[in-house]
Symmetry: C2
Subunit: 450 residues, 2 copies
């Protein structure tokens, strides 16, 4: 037979079982945390009609899209989870209750130039709250709590949720008479972290911002201190722009409710340089950075927008949302050695190795363990003992259960704890309880160490 | 602004939140049950190189494939989860431990003619055990236990796991001197359920099977009674074909281990008419039917095969696997009214409605409930009381928590059980424990009622 060389496309992540187990744990943690905040899971097709998906049109993204025809249909693979959400809400407007809170963890596709750490197929994990006409600032105030709990549940400790408000920036620019340049200026100050103060100022001048105003902008974004300090300093700007004043009130609300939401101050920061590249944000904007890995950039970003589905409906649908680029985050965590090897990644908690011809007792024990919630594998291949133990080692199973004629005669099983090497002969029911308790203990750990 | 009419492609399932919640519950049940049997989760790309995906070539499937080019790459969307598994095992052969047990729940794509209940994008939920060179019959014997536990965990009661063995059929045909016609004959008797005895016999004659042998075949597949009766009746055929004798031994092993695996006899049946359409099955084959819905056909099928990855590697990789067509199953369950409305499908367990301007107490209560594992939504929109309650009704939330000045003064919250209408004022900590206990109780139910 002629053979084809098997390969996985470049830019597509495909993990070995132990890594996949860690990825699954991350996804399960996200699902659980998002649910805790009342977000409903949503699943939309990966393929959409191009005309629908590209309603907004243009832009960098369009070139990257996987677009093709099938029969008479012009189809595209989704490149984010926001456009499908907009479509979904527009179609189902009459059947949804607003505010509509949904999470979606799904694959999206972008035909970017393949390079290390860049993926063409990758998971995004998004949450959004969509209002009907209006959406209270409390929804924006709650987002840091969701980020905090998600990251903490994953095991991350050293992270900072950085928050700004586009109205504060827009209002400030308006008070300088720079409203027409606001978008350019924001893109420039968004780069401050990367390019530094001098270059940032030079870029502003290059954009036609007068020197005095560029200095004002640089002073503004240099406001430092705690969040309280910054809010205090911002008071000086009040009264020059209604937009600014509203933005400051919103920013203050977000900061004020943090303690009630259980977010520690050290994980939060008001950062006046954050503008987010996207032009459609209109209120609070969020970025989240790993304190010891600033080079990674933001790993969870988003913000408030005014009009989710304007390409599909005349209904005004404001919302607030955040997104985690899960595949890239996983890649980075692995590369940084931040994935814990404490949590169990074996496909099973227990491996039963029968030492008799008849497997009935081994099968009964497997059934008993499973009924006790212990993930159990039965090793039934006809191999030498050494090969069986080498299999146990290779899959990294925490417990091996031996069942031979002696054990059957005495009504016991022999359980080996593969970590300590300790072997105990005990009643199957006793073994089940002991293994379950030990597994539960080991499973309390987080998937990320930080 | 010019608006595009939003739509979801025909043949693509997109569910409303309450239905999606049920679908998620089904998927979570599958993940848990498969894990319990030591299957590791696997995730492979949806896009593969066409040359790799279509290595086997030809067939009905190829016409249905979503195939396109991107840049210089000839790409295809996966049409099942078996070919990607074969690719994965061939690529990672050296790093996997065999037997390799994996489950995968993922979307696959087939551009079939769109019609009601047929999907172009649909979930398959597969498990497979892959051996290296050899694979013991115990792996085949364990499959009915996995099907039984999966279906039971979903809430299905009236189902039958029907099992046969291809060696029994092949050996029997060989003993009749019909080896060269075995494939045609098997396809014909596979249709017995649909076309009936007379038509089946006529088809056999049409295929050139002599009348006496056709009668022998019809007698063979008419063997009836319990599984034990059938095994007994099959003994009469022993000694004419080595393949048959081995197949009978395997079939007996599968039946014999059922009690130890915890599978009740009423959910199991040896069915000599099952051949499965696919030619590559070589041992035990499985179908699972809902007893009261025979018209649906098999909802979980599979079997033993000898060579998973022959198109990619000269390594012999025998395996056994089963597959559930999840999207279609969900569609059918919904249509038959078999999805339970007892389980909670609301996006949250509790909705907090603050009755004060300042939301601090409400937020603190939300944080407390969430810390107790209660999925909680905070209603912060500025609406009339009636609109707030109508929101609670629309999302179907089990508990509403009111926090007004009176409650804050007394250090209590007012909790309304939306099912009973009962209202209780109690300490937030007490409310948290009571709501959690009630929610846990309601969540013990299964997603399917049967």
């Amino acid at each position: 037979m002629e053979r084809i060389k098997p390969r996985t496309l470049s830019g597509f992540m495909e993990l070995l079982p132990d890594k996949q187990a860690q990825m699954e744990r991350i996804m399960e943690t996200l699902r659980k945390t998002y649910s805790l905040y009342g977000f409903a899971p949503l699943d939309t097709p990966i393929i959409e009609a191009s005309e629908v998906l590209l309603a907004k049109g243009g832009g960098e993204t369009e070139k990257q899209i996987y677009r093709f025809t099938k029969g008479e249909n012009d189809l595209s693979l989704r490149f984010d989870l926001t456009v499908p959400l907009a479509k979904y809400v527009a179609i189902n407007y009459g059947q949804l209750a607003f505010p509509f809170r949904r999470y979606q963890i799904g694959k999206v596709y972008r035909g970017e130039r393949a390079q290390r750490g860049r993926f063409r197929e990758f998971y995004q994990a998004d949450i959004d709250v969509i209002g009907d006409g209006e959406l209270d600032i409390m929804n924006e105030a709650e987002i840091p709590a969701i980020i905090y709990r998600t990251f903490t549940a994953l095991g991350l400790k050293k992270f900072k949720i950085r928050v700004n408000n586009r109205k504060v920036l827009n209002g400030f620019f308006a008070s300088l008479g720079l409203s027409d340049k606001a978008s350019d200026v924001m893109h420039t100050i968004d780069k401050l972290d990367k390019i530094g103060v001098e270059k940032c100022r030079a870029l502003l001048l290059g954009e036609g911002v007068p020197e005095s105003k560029a200095d004002e902008i640089m002073r503004f974004i240099a406001i430092s201190g705690t969040s309280a300090d910054k809010l205090e300093a911002l008071k000086k700007y009040v009264g020059k722009s209604e937009i600014f004043d509203l933005g400051l009130k919103e920013l203050k609300a977000v900061a004020d409710y943090l303690p009630a939401f259980g977010v520690p101050e050290e994980n939060f920061e008001i950062d006046l340089t954050i503008a987010r590249g996207l032009d459609y944000y209109t209120g609070t904007v969020y970025e989240t950075t790993l304190t010891e890995h600033p080079e990674i950039g933001s790993v969870c970003s988003g913000g408030r927008y005014d009009n989710l589905a304007e390409y599909y409906t005349d209904k005004k649908l404001p919302g607030v949302g955040i997104s985690i680029g899960l595949t890239r985050l996983f890649f980075v965590l692995e590369e940084q050695g931040m994935l814990s090897d404490e949590v169990i990644t074996a496909p099973a908690d227990a491996l039963i190795i029968p030492m008799t011809e008849d497997f009935s007792k081994a099968v009964e024990t497997a059934t008993l363990l499973r009924e006790n919630g212990i993930s159990t594998m039965l090793y039934s291949e006809n191999k030498k003992f050494k090969a069986k133990m080498s299999y146990a080692d290779k899959i990294g199973v925490p417990f091996v259960v031996f069942i031979g004629d002696d054990e059957i005669g005495q009504g016991v099983v022999k359980v080996k704890d593969m970590r300590s090497g300790e072997q105990v002969s005990e009643k199957p029911e006793t073994a089940a309880l002991r293994i379950k308790a030990e597994i539960d203990k080991r499973n309390t750990g987080c998937v990320i160490k930080d």
